[in-house]
């Protein structure tokens, strides 16, 4: 059985201005069947959204205003958890550690990724292989195995100190020194540059070659070409990577958890915000406080992202403006 077809749209025929759509005409049996099918296909996603994301999200919003130890029913405490954050020195310590980490590791990682993408964009032989090899750390970067490897590199008897010993320098464990522990996590983050590098590489391939040719004709050197063509044309990609990597850095957890044995030491120097949140929720059983911390982080990330977008109009160049 074939469904009745709708009359040709005037807009498509180009004969006259479009008329308001006739609702009875559009809701044909075929349309209704297709609508039903669409809804059926949407059900699995909808179930996932509701059960796995929306419900826990709303539950954590409620818990943020309660005292909940996972064992007894939550009791409403209003803004107490948020007030407590203000008085909790470890909360501020973790916020400061995270902020330092974001401010240092994200620009470094993006600069490293961009630099390497530019090198790889020069049409060298075996580009696909290099691309894959450089992407590997990103696949492994936040994994337990790499965090353990990091301990073997930066530990007291690790490879770095063994190398320094050859030069007559006796080093102590980089991971057990509060002045250097966070730096090792920054290095770990920079090392996982593969994902932004691939995106930069794709962006570089989109820049028209004529622009460079014209610049060369006008006598522009490589540095001038980079500053006046590559960077402006890449700003949307830089912006995209900046937003994603900033959000990811605020949420960093695994590396610090493994490398510090879950404690964020020494002296809380690697106590990332999410690690402290986790300690509160699952070690100290303060799930209400942990939920409040999670929402505070969400708000901060939202604000930082909004600032990124607001500032983007001053430095991000789109081809159509």
């Amino acid at each position: 059985m074939s469904a009745p077809t709708a009359p040709p749209s005037p807009a498509l025929s180009g004969s006259s201005p479009p008329e308001p759509a006739n609702r009875t005409t559009r809701r044909t049996p075929k349309w209704r069947r297709q609508g039903r099918a669409a809804h059926v296909f949407l059900i699995p996603w909808l179930l996932g959204l509701v059960l796995i994301t929306a419900v826990p999200l709303l539950a954590s919003l409620y818990l943020a205003f309660t005292d909940y130890n996972l064992l007894d029913p939550p009791t409403w405490t209003g803004l107490e958890n948020f007030r407590r954050m203000g008085e909790d020195p470890r909360f501020w310590a973790s916020a400061w550690v995270t902020l330092k980490y974001v401010l240092v590791s994200v620009p470094l990682q993006l600069a490293f990724a961009l630099g390497l993408a530019i090198v790889l964009d020069r049409g060298i032989k075996g580009l696909a292989l290099y691309r894959s090899v450089y992407y590997l750390p990103s696949l492994l970067g936040a994994s337990v195995a790499i965090a353990i490897l990091w301990r073997q590199l930066f530990g007291h008897d690790g490879l770095i100190n063994s190398g320094l010993a050859l030069l007559g320098i006796e080093g102590e464990s980089w991971l057990q020194n509060p002045s250097t522990a966070l730096s090792t996590l920054v290095v770990l983050n920079v090392w996982t540059f593969g994902s932004p590098m691939i995106i930069f590489l794709a962006g570089l391939r989109q820049i028209p070659e004529e622009l460079y040719e014209a610049a060369r004709v006008d006598g522009a050197g490589r540095w001038r070409q980079f500053l006046s063509i590559t960077v402006p044309m890449l700003t949307p990609i830089i912006f995209f990577n900046l937003v994603l990597q900033t959000i990811g850095a605020f949420q960093s957890f695994t590396q610090a958890h493994i490398i510090s044995g879950g404690r964020g030491g020494p002296l809380d120097s690697t106590l990332f915000y999410t690690l402290y949140l986790y300690q509160q929720g699952f070690v100290s059983f303060n799930m209400g406080y942990a939920s409040a911390m999670a929402w505070a982080l969400l708000v901060v990330i939202g604000i930082v992202t909004a600032i990124h977008f607001l500032l983007s109009k001053y430095w991000v160049f789109y081809g159509d403006n």
Binding site: V40, I43, D67, L70, L71, D157, S173, G265, V283, N286
Partner: protein, 432 residues
């Protein structure tokens, strides 16, 4: 398949998925399938394999009981079971981490164990069972015993031509041990240090406190560590560290020395007596020996103690799983084959009959454990109290305190005050 059929299939799948929560109603309140028994424990990869092999023996002999092993490392175990508690989905049988005994009791997790068909209590002395009750109820069972100890590398000691202080009341003291370690560190051919920095060794710390007339935890659920005893503990370790007789935290990768890292660097560690079973195997060329902790002549009587680790059955174990869980508990605690398969990494068996049965087949290092536990348990012991709810993070607090101390950020009195304040705050928060 046409589109309509496909759509119907998808629709049927979605309806099934939506109905899944209803299907769960056929399960027990604990979340377990009727007849199945979940067994949860912690450890390393070797212990995991050994216990799985032991559980396989049980399953072979009891095909009607489905055993579902749930293994994790120590930290992850505690975090997982916390979530399971919140979801009332706790395994039928589970080991109890020492800081959580009373937390789980407060959460009403334990089922009484003296009315179970298939679980035999006749091997256990009445006084042991009596002291093991919580609030007058036998709802956990002693699984193993271990004690605080001093362990040293006999091979290193002989290489240096050194001798430990005599092992008697007059000579085996904290002061004499400190002097020996300082001398050893100053004068041994390999340049090793006397000891790892073990101030965060909970059992040895507790032994120190008990000798000084103090308790780690009091009967009414507070931190019992006397400020003077706490400061004395830190002073003893700082004396060693500053004299070059104990490792710096950097050298041992943190407040908790990692044995593979420190095994070649030091003569001695202060820790739990059961660790010799696993750790001696990591350095098979060396001979390790161990003693009870030293004690000063004026030590408070009754300070010696052993820790009896616990196992429990979940209170909401479904009726259909009860018999199987009782059988598995019995196999776990009362069958020497279980211990023979798993070894003594968790300590000496708490069941006296099993202890005697496995002794002839124990390895040399296991015998050192058994002998030391025997020696310690023959001493008079004053009561010991379990960690109260909210104290589960006390070792993390101790680690932070030790870091601050060893890195020179605080002095000893401040470290002691901060430790006491932070642990007390956590306990009081849990009470609220």
């Amino acid at each position: 398949m046409d589109r309509r059929t496909f759509t119907r299939l998808i629709g049927a799948g979605a309806v099934t998925a939506a109905a899944a929560p209803l299907a769960a109603c056929g399960r027990s309140a604990s979340g377990s399938t009727e007849g199945a028994v979940r067994y949860a424990w912690w450890g390393d990869a070797v212990r995991k394999q050994n216990y799985e092999a032991a559980l396989a023996i049980f399953s072979e002999e009891n095909p009607d009981v489905t055993v579902r092993p749930e293994f994790a490392d120590y930290g992850a175990f505690q975090e997982r079971i916390t979530v399971q508690m919140a979801g009332r989905n706790v395994p039928e049988l589970f080991w109890i981490p020492s800081p959580q005994v009373l937390t789980y009791q407060a959460a009403n997790l334990y089922r009484p164990l003296d009315d179970l068909d298939g679980f035999d209590l006749s091997d256990y002395p009445d006084d042991l069972l009596e002291t093991f009750k919580l609030n007058g109820e036998l709802n956990t069972m002693p699984r193993s015993i271990f004690t605080p100890c001093v362990r040293w590398n006999q091979t290193f000691l002989e290489e240096a031509g050194a001798e430990l202080p005599a092992y008697d009341e007059a000579n085996w003291t904290w002061d004499s041990l400190a002097e020996f370690l300082i001398d050893y560190s100053a004068d041994n051919p390999q340049g090793r240090k006397g000891a790892a920095y073990c101030a965060n060794s909970d059992m040895v710390f507790e032994s120190w406190l008990r000798q000084h007339g103090s308790d780690l935890w009091t009967e009414d659920g507070t931190l019992g560590a006397d400020p003077a005893a706490l400061e004395g503990w830190f002073e003893w370790w700082e004396r060693l560290r500053t004299a070059g007789a104990a490792l710096e935290l950097s050298e041992q990768e943190g407040a908790d020395p990692e044995w593979p890292v420190v095994g070649e660097k030091v003569l001695m560690t202060l820790q739990n007596s059961n660790h010799i079973v696993d750790e001696a195997q990591q350095f098979p060329d060396y001979d390790f020996q161990q003693r009870m902790t030293p004690a000063n002549p004026d030590a408070t009587p009754g300070f010696r103690f052993g820790y009896l680790s616990r196992i429990a059955m979940y209170r909401e174990t479904p009726d259909g799983s009860l018999e199987g869980a009782a059988k598995l508990l019995d196999f776990n605690l009362n069958d020497a084959r279980m211990v023979a398969q798993t070894g003594l990494t968790v300590g000496a068996p708490a069941n006296p009959r099993v202890l005697e049965e496995i002794r002839p087949d124990a390895t040399a290092d296991e015998l050192k454990l058994l002998d030391l536990v025997d020696e310690e348990m023959q001493h008079e012991q004053r009561p010991r109290y379990e960690a109260p709810p909210g104290s589960g993070t006390w070792r993390d607090v101790m680690a932070r305190t030790i870091e601050a101390l060893a890195l020179g950020n605080v002095d000893i009195p401040t470290a002691a005050t901060q430790f006491t304040a932070e642990v007390t705050r956590e306990i009081e928060a849990a009470r609220r």
